[in-house]
Amino acid sequence: MKIALEVKNLQVLYGEKHVVHDINLKFPANQITALIGASGSGKSTVLRSLNRMNDDLATVQGTIDFHGININQPQVNVYRVRQQIGMVFQQPTPFPLSIYENVIYGLRLAGEKDKQVLSQRAEESLRQAALWDEVKDQLNESALALSGGQQQRLCIARTLAVRPEIILMDEPTSALDPVSTSQIEDTLVQLKEEFTIIMVTHNMQQASRAADWTAFMHQGNLIEFDKTATIFMNPREQKTADYLSGKFG
């Protein structure tokens, strides 16, 4: 099995507060891995550390191995890292620009000027995010007029347009209604052909529906990591079983 990203001895501190303790994880390539756990378990913190989004907020120690390079060291160009490891947030956050300009935002940042490339990428990414058919006639209209679910798919398209290898998603559907949620889950399953997806979710059904692998975290520790089916049907740890059956969380 190919590994897209490997985390070794990851520790995260907010000031004096130790929020993530010594985590080791291998994220398989072209698979969806879900990080589950109660609020405050550190799952979002781990996710944000993976593309250095915690730089200004916390101290992250340990190794994050991406193609043999430790991207958690000072001399790494974080902007290029984030082009390789993109991120989609909980709240849909289209910029107050047109739909088209939103999709190609990351490409413009990277300096792409060729109009043909830009419009081709925009279409490709919108198709991949299953939004093309809905917006193809209004590409120049404001992205803020879209519905919440459409906005989130636009944000996914915006991340895809940069052609990252890995996409991090921080509870990508928690602000959406059930219909939009299931559309996005379907989209994710399609996307794993080309991308590696790592997502944090509060929603255990979502993990069991969409994820191939699931990591369960509790109070800053990784309790268990396995195939989703194994975690849900036959967990090794009592804590995992307790969480999945709703005894806490």
């Binding site: 290029r80 890292v81 947030f89 709240q91 910029f95 990351g106 991340t159």
Partner: protein, 300 residues
């Protein structure tokens, strides 16, 4: 029993009376404010057009004439109009980029601690009376200009400098507020797509705060346009057409403040000052209208 309930549900009560009283007070306040504004408008308009109606001075000559000699019945207001616009635009043009840079530094770059120290300081500067700025103009700006460029030091440039100092805190403070109003998620999302802080500022933050930043600029400039005292202290107060920045001049406001006490009500020279005041009022309204139009556009 039924009667009691009926009375309870249909009759007035302490709460409903309170509500009525509150409404009454609000309506009275609105009527008073509306009345005040209406009275000022009517009064200024009547006084302002007297020069043209009663004294038969032509409006065109008033707006385009360059000679302001009340003793010779000459009321050309163009030098004052030009000086007012000149100092305002000059001060605004220099203050805007500076205000933007300071606001960006405080909101986007510097640490919270520096921020917590600087923002109250800027807000304090907003509240300083204009006579203090005028005094700084007299004691610091004018002598320095005299040393640098020669002449008296009094003039357009001195007035522009003082106005710049005066409106910079206002514009900075308003720009800070407008940048703060940009959702945090925009910054996160932009960073997540590989943007540097600079790229985020240029491509997302400034465009989303654009209309508010523009409002801050217009607001600052309208304050500069209407300022009388600080300008009067350093502008030189000569009602001739200025030819250069170091030339002594007079603005609409400074002519009114110097002249209004020295003229007799109802005489043409007094009426002419009211006409200047009317121009000032119309310009202020125009500034306000511009702010409204811009902020409505931004809200869409």
């Amino acid at each position: 029993m039924m009667d009691k309930l009926k009375k309870q549900l249909l009759g007035p009560s302490a709460e409903s009376k309170q509500e009525l009283l509150g409404k009454l007070v609000s309506y009275i306040a609105i009527i008073v404010i509306g009345g005040l504004v209406g009275t000022i408008l009517v009064f200024l308009t009547i006084k302002g057009v007297a020069l043209f109606n009663n004294d038969h001075f032509s409006l065109w000559q008033f707006l385009s004439g360059v000679n302001w000699q009340p003793s010779h019945h000459l009321y050309g207001a163009l030098p004052m109009i030009a000086a007012s616009f000149g100092v305002t635009v000059l001060a605004g043009m220099v203050a805007l980029p500076l205000a933007l840079v300071v606001a960006l530094a405080l909101t986007e770059m510097l640490s919270k601690k520096i921020n917590q120290f600087c923002q109250p300081l800027i807000e304090l500067l907003v509240g300083i009376p204009s006579v203090v700025y005028g005094y700084i103009g007299l004691t610091v700006v004018v002598p320095n200009l005299r040393q640098l460029f020669g002449g008296t030091g009094f003039g357009l440039l001195a007035a522009a400098c003082v106005l710049f100092l005066m409106i910079l805190p206002t514009m900075t403070s308003m720009t800070i507020d407008s940048l703060r109003a940009v959702p945090k998620q925009y910054r996160m999302a932009s960073t997540g797509l590989g943007a540097t802080r600079w790229q985020t500022i240029i491509r997302v933050i400034i465009p989303s705060a654009r209309s508010d930043i523009f409002t801050a600029m217009v607001f600052g400039m309208s304050r500069a346009f209407g300022e009388a005292l600080a300008v009067q202290m350093v502008v030189g107060n000569t009602t001739i057409m200025p030819k250069g920045l170091m030339d002594s001049a007079a603005t609409l406001t400074s002519v009114i403040t110097t002249g209004i006490g020295n003229t007799v009500m109802g005489t043409p020279s007094n009426n002419a000052l009211w006409s200047l005041a009317l121009i000032l009022l119309i310009m202020s309204l125009a500034f306000n209208l511009l702010i409204r139009v811009v902020s409505r556009k931004g809200a869409r």
